[in-house]
Amino acid sequence: MRVEDAICSFCGCLCDDINVEVEENKVKRVRHACRLGSSKIMGHERIRSPMVRKDGELKEVSYQEAYERAAEILLAASKPLLYGWASTVCEAQKKGILLAEEVGGVLDSTATVCHGPSVIGIEEKGLPGATLGQVKNRADTIVFWGCNPAEAHPRHSLRYSSNACGRFTSEGRSAKKIIVVDVRETRTSKNADMQVIIQPGTDYEVISALRMLVAGKGDVVPEEVGGVAKKELASLAEMLLAAKFGAVFFGLGITHSRGRYKNIDNALSLVADLNSHTKFVIMPMRGHYNVGGIGQVLAWSSGYPMSVDFTRQAPYFNPGETAACDLLAKADTDAALIIAADPASNFPRKIVEELAKMPIIQIDPYENPTTLLADVVIPSAIAGVEAEGTAYRMDGLALRMRKLVNSSYPSDEQILDGILESVRSLRSSMSLRGGLKDDN
């Protein structure tokens, strides 16, 4: 069987032109995907069965037993953290938010250690953006700042940006100016017309200098900024101003270097300034395929796109206080449900040590370092391969992920439903307050 136009569930590009050959319910061949996507769709060794830690060892149990143990952990906790969500579909995220409301927890996504600062920057300045097709059809000048799509989003350049052809960009790469700003040479910069190497941690200063140059106030810019000669910056500013349609893509090189959300704030301001002269848009290069989705679902459900605290029954948002790492750093959480993420690999070491102290429920198709810390492990179907659902591309476009093969594993949504049911029945047997029905 051949599945045409499947959507890749690896990165925020959500390439939707993937052809997959399936034989005997197994993916045999993946066409059009990049190596990263292809490897994700082909899959690898799975967690076989739900497991619960007993006497220090993970022991195989039934799904029902795992749900009940998970419910016990969540209800015993005074402030559970429900973390991850970027590599699953919106249908699971919706269930997760309901669960967080019902158990009175904090829900945060992997954006917190990724584009969280971008979100805060957007709260300061707004986001002048576009869909990727708009960039494809119009952009003649593209800036990659602190990102390396050639390695992290391999098909971005051909489908959407530097090498794409569209209505007003029919000559493709040859008629475009590509600029890469980074702290080192990258594979992306090999394809650039101009490469600007800045000293680490000087993004804010370099952007400020560019804003001055764009505003015609170059006289206040020193001879060198962030290790870049003023002359070079001036020619960069000229390239930006000469654009008919410019696009800035930015990555973790700018969100997680010195200045963090202030860098983004400044970059957004630069783009707003440039719009007084020409057309410019800006977009974060989102990593996990549906990290955009959790931001959208949380925003329409709770009003906030990440780090939402439901412990007081009403959503409360205060990054710096309610983000996953903040809670863990202050030992302000006492249990964790980790879904579709691997904080043991990605959080700072001290934070992981804190995480290791508390009971952890893990929902994931695959074993990862977080499994070593988990007390309940619940294997799930791979969303976007074995289960359908909605995902939001890096530009905010919603697409429906196809199911490519059948799976005996339950979906993330079904697992969360199972836990939610166990929470409700355990709570009613404990006759505790809190559930929707109990409040009547």
């Binding site: 959407y160 057309k279 459900s301 009003g303 009403a314 929707l436």
Partner: protein, 568 residues
């Protein structure tokens, strides 16, 4: 269910404040029923409110929420009873959207603007809004396929595209926003008027509007074109408004309704040459509407305080951001639209804002026939919808308007005629502007009235219409309208004394229009090329799947009996 002894206003059925009983069975108004009896003796009873133009769902709304955590913090209500938590004031979360409309006695609301390609997101949010019946208008005014059909004067193919687009978006009708301007914004410019050609497409806004109106009637869609004028929000733009209305005089409606609905007219009734000599031209617009029968409008009333402007008119939003130095979100949508979101505060101290406030009221009060003008705030552009009771109280009370005007800029009375308007609307007129007319204008046969067979949507207010003098007791009016005593949705009491007690799932209306197969075939050739060369998604992943509309109410329309082929 029987609602006993209410003073019923059901203007669509010629009932203007009569004491009568209403029966609901199986979710509909019937002649006779048993069961629960609701005591409404002497109370104001109307059909459930219908909002024909409000921004309630989709990318713009979520962009507003994400960029405005300050707003989300306002209006926070914890989860309790059957309710999930509420947040936000101008950009409420989905749950608050349903609860707050229901609290005011509204049971239906239509989302005003959705690009086809982003309709999936809109439906995801509509599905999360409890209680309300809803629908979403679909944007066509800056669409490449539309402009190419217009350029080729191929109305049949355009109609096929509209049918295809509505189906792909699960949309309800044709929305046109600053036609041509959104495309021009793709390279950072705008169109300056009705006859200013759209760059690269060799068509004018006038041609786009007229052709879409023709296609609308060719398809016999339940609603007319729903139009946001060019030059919206600019001093002196009333001439564009009049010019556009004149250009649509020859459109023959295919149903018993208007040929064009002009939305948020307040933003298009501006005189003056700049903000300095800015003044109301509402009397000129109202006079035109009074003398012609092809157009209806909604107010787009502006109220003082916080708002979030959000529109597919992206150049306008860029202008708003430059004017106010506020944060600015923009979102260009490939081949289809552009859009923007900017927070706003309208101030009593600003003469311009005071004039805008007066214009909305003038439009409603100077238009003689209430069937031609709907009460809206273009929520949340002029003000969030929760402030509708304030607007109604202003329309019903000259003393309230006078006392408001006394607090505003001294120059105001020279810039508007509002101070000289004696008219005070009565409950029949309010019932028309908030129920009967929006339903008729949208083409919703079962909404906005209480005849047998109509949807069992009823609002009962804690107000004795035969005793309360709305002119003097405007505070009582406002309070009563803010919190319905009962809101009944499809025969279920969803809200009692302001408390939400049930959250049934509402319906989503969309229009399935048939086009001639030959035109559809010709269209497919165009669309295949567009998807191969220009769109960033495959055609097979483009259309909204059925799973996103779990409780659909499909209205059939179109030419011939031949049903539209399944969208790829």
């Amino acid at each position: 269910m029987i609602i006993r002894g209410g003073i019923v206003y059901d203007p669509a059925n010629g009932i203007f404040g009569e004491e009568m009983d209403l029966c609901i069975d199986g979710g509909r108004i019937v002649e006779d029923a048993k069961g629960e009896v609701i005591d409404a003796r002497g109370l104001l009873v109307m059909p459930g409110g219908v909002d024909a133009h409000s921004h309630i769902a989709g990318k713009k709304m979520n962009t507003g929420r994400i960029m405005r955590p300050d707003d989300s913090r306002l209006g926070t209500e914890p989860r309790s009873g059957v309710c999930r938590p509420s947040t936000g004031y101008t950009v409420p979360n989905c749950y608050a959207m349903g609860y707050r409309y229901a609290r005011m006695g509204y049971t239906t609301a239509f989302e005003a603007a959705t690009p086809i390609i982003e309709a999936r997101h809109t439906h995801e949010e509509l599905e999360e809004i409890p209680i309300l019946d809803k629908g979403a208008l679909t944007l066509f005014g800056n669409n490449w396929e539309v402009m190419e059909c217009v350029h080729d004067k191929d109305i049949a193919k355009l109609a096929a595209y509209v049918a295809w687009g509505l189906r792909a978006a699960r949309g309800y009708g044709i929305k046109i926003v600053n036609p041509g301007g959104g495309e021009a914004w793709g390279f950072g410019s705008n169109v300056k008027g009705l006859y200013d050609p759209v760059p690269n497409f060799d068509v004018t806004p006038a041609e786009i509007i007229h052709a879409l109106a023709e296609a609308n009637e060719m398809l016999r869609l339940p609603h007319s074109i729903h139009l946001h004028f060019n030059n919206l929000g600019k001093p002196g733009n009333y001439t564009t408004a009049l010019e556009t209305l004149e250009a649509l005089k020859d459109i023959k409606p295919s149903r018993m309704r208007q040929a064009v609905h002009v939305t948020h007219m307040q933003f298009s009734a501006y005189g003056g040459t700049s903000w300095r000599d800015f003044e109301s031209k509402a009397p000129v617009i109202a006079d035109y509407i009074n003398r012609h029968n092809h157009a209806t409008m909604d107010m787009g009333q502006l109220l003082f305080g916080a708002a979030t402007t959000m529109t597919a008119d992206a150049p306008l939003e860029y202008g708003n951001a430059r004017l106010t130095h506020n944060k600015w979100s923009n979102h260009d949508i490939e081949l289809e639209e552009s859009s923007g979101v900017v927070p706003m505060v309208y101030s009593r101290k600003m003469l311009v804002n005071a004039v805008q406030w007066a214009i909305g009221l003038e439009l409603a009060l100077l238009t003689e026939d209430p069937w031609k003008v709907l009460m809206t705030t273009d929520s949340p552009n002029g003000s969030p919808f929760v402030n509708y009771p304030e607007v109604i109280a202003l329309l019903m009370s000259k003393p309230k308007r006078d006392s408001e005007m006394a607090t505003l800029h001294a120059e105001l009375s020279k810039r508007t005629s509002l101070g000289g308007i004696e008219r005070e609307l009565d409950w029949s007129e309010i019932a028309i502007m908030t129920r009967a007319a929006p339903a008729r204008i949208l083409g919703l046969e079962d909404k906005g009235h209480l005849g047998f067979g109509a949807d069992g949507d009823v609002s009962i207010y804690n107000l004795l219409p035969e005793e309360v003098d709305a002119s003097k007791e405007h505070a009582t009016v406002k309070k009563a309208l803010a919190t319905a005593k009962y809101t009944i949705k499809s025969g279920i009491v969803v809200c009692k004394d302001g408390k939400i007690i049930a959250t049934p799932r509402g319906k989503t209306y969309w229009v399935d229009a048939a086009a001639a197969q030959a035109d559809m075939d010709r269209l497919m050739v165009d669309l295949q090329e567009k998807f191969e060369r220009y769109y960033s998604v495959q055609m097979s992943n483009y259309a909204v799947q059925d799973v996103y509309v779990t409780n659909p109410k499909v209205i059939k329309a179109g030419i011939g009996a031949e049903p539209l082929k399944e969208v790829a």
